[in-house]
Symmetry: C2
Subunit: 443 residues, 2 copies
Amino acid sequence: MTHAFVAALALVLLGMSGPSRAADTALPNAAPDAEASDPRALGWMQDFPPPPDKRLSAADGSFFRFPALRWSVVHMREFLPTVEVSRGLGAPVPLPVALDGAIDAIRFTPTGARAPMTWKASLAANYTDGLVVLHRGRVVYEFYAGELREDRSHAAMSVTKSLTGTLAAMLAAEGMIDPAAPVTRYVPELAGSAFADARVRDVMDMTTCLRYSEDYADPAAEIWEYAKASNPLPQPGAEVVGTAAYLRTLQPEPGCRVGEAFAYKTPNADVLGWIVARASGTSVATLLSERIWRRMGMEQAGYFQVDATGMPVAGGGFSSGLRDMARFGQLLLDGGSWKGEQLIPRAVVEDIRKGGSRAAFARSGHPGLAGWSYRDMWWVTHNAHGAFAARGVHGQTVYIDPKAEMVIVRFASHPQAANAANDATSLPAYQALADHLLSREGK
Amino acid sequence: MTHAFVAALALVLLGMSGPSRAADTALPNAAPDAEASDPRALGWMQDFPPPPDKRLSAADGSFFRFPALRWSVVHMREFLPTVEVSRGLGAPVPLPVALDGAIDAIRFTPTGARAPMTWKASLAANYTDGLVVLHRGRVVYEFYAGELREDRSHAAMSVTKSLTGTLAAMLAAEGMIDPAAPVTRYVPELAGSAFADARVRDVMDMTTCLRYSEDYADPAAEIWEYAKASNPLPQPGAEVVGTAAYLRTLQPEPGCRVGEAFAYKTPNADVLGWIVARASGTSVATLLSERIWRRMGMEQAGYFQVDATGMPVAGGGFSSGLRDMARFGQLLLDGGSWKGEQLIPRAVVEDIRKGGSRAAFARSGHPGLAGWSYRDMWWVTHNAHGAFAARGVHGQTVYIDPKAEMVIVRFASHPQAANAANDATSLPAYQALADHLLSREGK
């Protein structure tokens, strides 16, 4: 396989996230801005066949190079095999709308900057493809750009992990998974791997000890084998490895003690998806449909990318509509209750909000996220508003602020994968918006 | 590429249909019956990873070998890249239901048989995965088996051609396509190919002259190059050819005169999809969504398989829900009108119903379909009821009987591709059902 292909797979299939990544050193220093990189203007994949310089492919990795990825994040299924997350056949339940025209003018100061920026300007600065804000369950702000529309889906990247983590926590609350049990109780095949010494809780909170590097500058980094194993497009005649088989080969990080330090490594999410599948007797895709997507009046089916063995990519392969993801965020904000039905046990939401070990997180070296923790595959800010978030590369987020009763979902296609590139112009913006919503209530 | 892979691609991507095919000589003589081949019992693609003998893949062709294909026809997107045919975001419009419990017991005599068969028995005999009957727009019969459910989608195979043909006829009625114009007016790239001498009408009615064989016993048959070019899963680094580029290479059949004889060859449907795309400025997938799928209260989005250049497989790549396909059939039965809106010009439906040249059809050698014709990619029976149909391999059909005001949609996974294998136990059954519906009205 070509390097470009594997690199693209690594980015897309594994859906890494996190505040800083060696990979970003290889990314453009002076990428075209949001307007200059607008996929509508650049004409990707138009006409048949598209002109060679406008044709994108998973096979050569072209579909996930900036700026082409701005087109592809809204068209993932056109490149890769996928499995539906059915919404069922009922009528969508509209979200109430009460737009707040004052939001665009909200000013905030980006982290490390001196000059303020408006909310509106932050959208372009962050290559935002779509953003919706719910306040008390009502749509107060909604924005689309690039290829996204209200009736299309966008790659959620590692936001997927928080869906997987929530499903696992739900099964735990129901007694179908014991977080204190060894991983091998559910997946005996992982005996002999780095997961043999881990409890399910370590996987849920990423405090395992994996010798696993996503350093793209290192040809020996484990990411390459991972990407090859997860390849959903195996060459005819080539052996199909599959994600599950690869996970069995992961070895422990020398000197690391399980449970002590948070280490953001995507294979944990794949293993958690595997545990969920074994415990529930179905896949994360079907379970997400049965438990959430069929139950909330979603507007569109979602979908997961699958590997060559049909395994949904639980660590980064989900795509959905913007407002549907906001419905999911609202469900978390509302303690798991939706229109009187307790879809997620309240204890699960409380556990996520309470967060994980801040000491374990501090050992992980995320300087931009001081004081945060990671629990059930959610990022917990421990700020004064008790905000917590799902986060994915290139700027995907579900940001939930309980004090402000606010849910923000942003889909984006930032040229840099790591969220460190957009946190400075988004996290303070979210805080300013929360303060605005509180102040208009006189709080 | 392996032979198995290309053969599977040929079957799946090109979605051939027709009453007799050399390919079938290679298919099982004594396949397990519907019960023994039930995909729910055979356990395909369960758990992660599935056991090797239960794992299906497009790369090795295993996914489309009987009996595994019985699973795969309901899971096409899990193997191949696809593009959505959006239903929009509105509420589905339920079909009224008035089930007729007498239908299962209807008896008919299969073609060439002496003993009668019941309607119910015909379903298993034809490996039916789903069948719905509308009478005067109401569901009088509905059946699911195998992997199909009311909230899943099934491969429509060459039924897709009739969707493409209908879209083309709509554009023709609106003056956006001139059926009398040469194909090259819309697709200049086809100069130098067998299509250079053809009018659009010849493509719509498959009276072109293509040197194109789907004889699987012949290693020189054009089907192999076609399948390779249409491969949506190119090997990394391999040149992407694409369907469009392949179509340019097709050469004329020596001694054939354009317009004289019907010859059922799938590349015509691809070319028609290309013409539709050029004339409308969009793809058949988007056009089908805008003109039909968003307009009829469909229950589910449909989808097209795409080739490596993103081109929807207009000749056989569509999948949809059973009842949604029935809504489309009802639209044709009702002269293109749906709840007071004229979605398809009435003249288009009348042109289809009137049919094509029966003399041209008679020259094609379809002994089981004597007296039929082919128009706008629909099969027209010219029987006493004026029935016409969309047909796809392995038993897919949309059968519309105007006199009985009846629409039948059947999705199936017959071990033999050619519909000759199931026509004997389905066409007389449809006639008997039509007579039943007429007789209960006292007609």
